[in-house]
Point group: C2
DNA sequence: AATACATTTCGAACATCATCGATATGATCT
DNA sequence: AGATCATATCGATGATGTTCGAAATGTATT
């Protein structure tokens, strides 16, 4: 296994190495897509904190973000999630 | 999703949120089982550092450890790895 | 353009983590 | 028991991560 591959994988795992982010991904994955406005209540954290975790998930490529009017919507990048699954074999 | 479930999953992901631990798990998984004596050279870290990472993987339940004479041997807990795979669906 | 609301960025406090040298513990052999 | 080698623990340091209040930015509506 190459150094670079291990680092890329570690970055993906790190993106999910927090309960808040696990909950967020689960929420969005099961809903198909979801509005940022619901997250603070759903995960029990402040609005800036949830925004921070969302941006980490987007940066890791696990989520996509789109502005729709006043609200921001998120959905899961299935390919990227598939890369994680594939890595566990 | 329950709070406890998200925390357990986050702990599993956190266990792999470091390139050294990704390499170690990959090494051990592909070899079937492996001796701790080879790890410092394989991952390019000191002996205390690799020992630290191994203990984290064992604590997370992803590895098993057994003393065989002078050396310690490790192998992957497939059930625990399967739990990770299952979580990504 | 002015207001209102949603979201991100900033700044700082606090906690956790990675790393390694030094030391301690455990295991084998003579 | 003493010597030797493998591994774990300790102590410390520098880096990284989580959290939130406050302020800045973006978006729509009037």
């Amino acid at each position: 296994m190459q150094d670079g591959e291990a680092e890329d994988l570690a970055l993906l795992f790190k993106a999910l190495a927090d309960p808040v982010r696990v909950k967020l991904l689960n929420l969005i994955a099961t809903a198909g897509e979801a509005c940022a406005c619901d997250f603070p209540a759903a995960v029990g954290k402040s609005q800036p904190t949830t925004s921070h975790h969302l941006s980490l998930l987007v940066k890791a490529g696990l989520l996509h973000r789109e502005q729709r009017g006043k609200w921001a919507w998120f959905w899961v990048d299935q390919d990227r999630l598939g890369a994680l699954r594939a890595a566990l074999d």
